[in-house]
Symmetry: C2
């Protein structure tokens, strides 16, 4: 995670990076929830341990999916954001949301988001990207 | 995997089922590679251990994603196939392939598949489903 490369299969490549229970939660927080700080990721409902969070952020940065920025002194320290490579994961996350929304009776997926992503997927993907860009500029 | 439910978030829900390095390889084998038997999954390039494979198949069956069928005696034992719920993962897997194909210089992703999925995603998703159905009928 990333462990040794197991094959050149594109599914295996992705799993070598993301094949754990936590990494996509951090990407979710960055992409959909407007979170940018370590303390914000740590506060997520799933209760990520601080050592796991630090490890995942380091690996995502190493893979060029997340970038860390030292904000101006008074702005309060380190912030994280997605790179273009990270934003390219939007379709994958949106499809994950749609699958879970369909198959989990207790889902907290936003029905308006599910409807929008079903009816006009390209527009939702553009909006997700734009919102991330607006937050980080 | 599935561990205790951590939240009602749709991303977390999916990770509770799939958040490991192996589960999606089995789904890949069923969906794209035409594999149906335990011995075929075991022979995959990534070298899944037999105890991991048995565990993942059991959990996928428990989650209603995979179904196990006892073939007629002379047809050679147990076969596995995807349920509708499992086939609904096709968009997620296709997006994973596209992301890795774009970002992994050594990818083994089939260029013809990548092009087709980029240009006409609905047609590719229909074909993936149809091919699975043809194999299992």
């Amino acid at each position: 995670m990333p462990g040794p490369r197991r094959s050149d299969c594109p599914i295996s490549f992705a799993l070598d990076l993301f094949g754990d229970r936590w990494t996509f939660l951090v990407i979710r927080d960055l992409m959909f929830k407007g979170k940018r700080r370590y303390s914000e990721f740590l506060a997520s409902e799933e209760g990520m341990a601080t050592n796991i969070l630090a490890d995942r952020l380091r690996k995502l940065e190493g893979a060029g999916i997340v970038v860390r920025t030292q904000a101006a002194r008074n702005a309060g320290g380190l912030t994280y954001s997605l790179t273009e490579k990270g934003l390219d994961l939007a379709p994958l996350l949106v499809e994950t949301v749609l699958w879970s929304a369909k198959h989990d009776a207790s889902t907290a997926a936003d029905p308006a988001f599910v409807t929008a992503a079903t009816l006009d997927r390209p527009a939702v993907l553009t909006a997700v990207r734009q919102q991330h860009t607006d937050r980080t500029n």
